[in-house]
């Protein structure tokens, strides 16, 4: 195998600690992913990406940097990738989905905040994430208090720029978000030394839309009653979309979709007849957080869609490609991004409507509302979502969890009981 240790060293990584991660990841991935029966052949590409997750892609980022390019890290689906690409930089969505980083995060953060924030902070502090180490700048946002304050700490370790996301959706908020996008444009131009021209931005908008369409196509295949792909696999693909080379990702995902659509025609399914269909709704699941999907799919049910940031919130709604002037395009971006229904907004009725619509579109038998521990906005919003789902006659189960192994047995019991209840 190619040796990336030299590259990792150059990135200032803690090789010994990182090695612990390298040791457990193949086993975890093998147990969760490779033991699935009847997987589509096209999943080989994503196996490859995971196998090379801290290797080949990091090498590609390094090559880009060698030629003077910049790498920019993001954590949220509100940060417009289009601008990063138009500035000639590479954007990577950083993961933060592992218990591995919690301990280091808790060195500077209180224990009772969300594991995602603790994990990304820990990943940077411990120098064990080569993506983080490759970043010239991080773009944060103000989607929750924990993140907002963590940026201030992170800024000591890596240049951290923060976008101020409005938390209501009035006319003036759209205007304000457009201004924030303009500010980010300036910042990225300064960082990269490249001017974001109208032409470059328009190309980037088209590229990101193609990526969204590939993911939409993937999710459409999951509406079939004979499921051509497991929820776990679909989740993995969404997660990979955040850091893979966009063109390659689009090509490989569309190739997989060809296979999936062919499977649907032939009736090749990964689910057993009569298995329950579950819609996941809630907080993002960053790599390698596959916990809830694994529990559900080893309990005899299938996940058919995710109303999460690593699901539909990432790719629903395209950016309008008609405008070609800078003002027009920035407005189109603001309009598209501010349509995302995140729990940080008030009021947020749109999310209730999304969940009910998705449950119907994907013919879900029930919703599992999954919230990261201490994620106040999603935790609190459950009350209204539960009410709306009950009114719509859709059964729902609430789970609050972190990345650890401790509560797997309990969650298993709850999920099984929920499946027995709706059975």
């Amino acid at each position: 195998m190619a040796d990336y240790r030299e590259l990792w060293q150059k990135l200032g990584m803690d090789l010994e600690k990182h090695d612990v991660l390298c040791e457990v990841l193949p086993q975890l991935y093998g147990g969760i992913y490779l033991n699935q029966e009847n997987r589509p052949e096209g999943m080989n590409y994503y196996n490859f990406v995971v196998a090379e997750v801290h290797g080949l892609r990091i090498k590609e980022l390094d090559d880009h940097k060698q030629q003077g390019g910049k790498v920019v890290g993001t954590f949220c689906v509100f940060v417009p990738d289009e601008l990063i690409l138009a500035a000639g930089a590479i954007g990577v969505g950083l993961c933060a989905g592992s218990q591995f980083w919690i301990e280091d995060g808790e060195k500077v953060l209180p224990r009772n905040i969300c594991p995602l924030v603790k994990a990304f902070t820990g990943a940077k502090l411990s120098g064990t994430c080569p993506y983080f180490q490759s970043c010239d700048m991080i773009i944060g946002e103000t989607t929750c208090d924990a993140k907002k304050k963590a940026w201030e700490i992170l800024d000591d370790y890596v240049d951290t720029y923060v976008m101020d996301l409005p938390q209501m959706k009035r006319e003036k908020d759209y205007k304000k978000w457009a201004e924030e996008i303009y500010d980010l444009k300036d910042k990225l131009e300064k960082l990269t030394g490249n001017v974001i021209t109208e032409e470059k931005l328009h190309d980037a908008i088209k590229l990101c839309n193609r990526k969204r369409m590939a993911l939409q196509r993937l999710y459409n295949a999951r509406k079939a009653l004979d499921l051509p792909i497991s929820g776990k696999d679909a989740l993995l693909i969404s997660q990979i979309a955040f850091y893979d080379n966009p063109e390659r990702f689009i090509e490989m995902t569309n190739a997989l979709c060809d296979e999936l659509e062919d499977r649907i025609k032939k009736g090749i399914a990964v689910n057993k007849k009569g298995s329950k269909r579950i819609l996941i709704s809630g907080t993002p699941m960053a790599v390698p957080n596959w916990k809830i999907h694994h529990i559900i799919e080893t309990s005899g049910a299938m996940v058919v869609a995710e109303e999460t940031c690593t699901g539909t919130r990432y790719f629903e709604n395209l950016v309008d490609e008609t405008p070609t002037t800078m003002d027009g395009m920035v407005k189109a971006l603001a309009d598209r991004y501010l349509k995302i229904n995140c729990a940080c907004f008030t009021p947020n009725k749109g999310r209730e409507e999304d969940i009910i619509r998705l449950a119907k579109e994907y013919k879900a038998d029930g919703v599992i509302y999954n919230s990261l521990q201490f994620c106040h906005t999603y935790n609190i919003e459950y009350a209204n979502v539960e009410k709306a789902l009950k009114e719509a006659g859709i059964p729902v189960l609430f789970i609050e969890s972190d990345y650890s192994n401790d509560d797997v047995g309990q969650i298993q019991t709850r999920v099984e009981a929920f499946l027995e209840m709706i059975g």
């Binding site: 195998m1 190619a2 990336y4 040791e23 975890l28 093998g30 196998a51 997750v53």
Partner: protein, 83 residues
Amino acid sequence: MEYDYYILFNTHTDGLNMAKRLKESNIKYTITPTPRQLSKCCGIAIKYEHEDEKAILDIIDKYDIKVLGLHSLERKNVDIKFI
């Protein structure tokens, strides 16, 4: 005792090349992360069915694919521990 069978490579390019040839020949394969017991580095390996070994050796010969050898590993049921 049951075994899993893997082809290891020097570089991912060799691995992808092998995958391409296997696909052409309709031989079932899975790209996997290299099992730690077989190599200390992260990277790709190809898992194959034992019955295809002869055909695989032929392909390696025919296309002159550089491999680090064919390996077997005892299959163990490992409890999944989330990290």
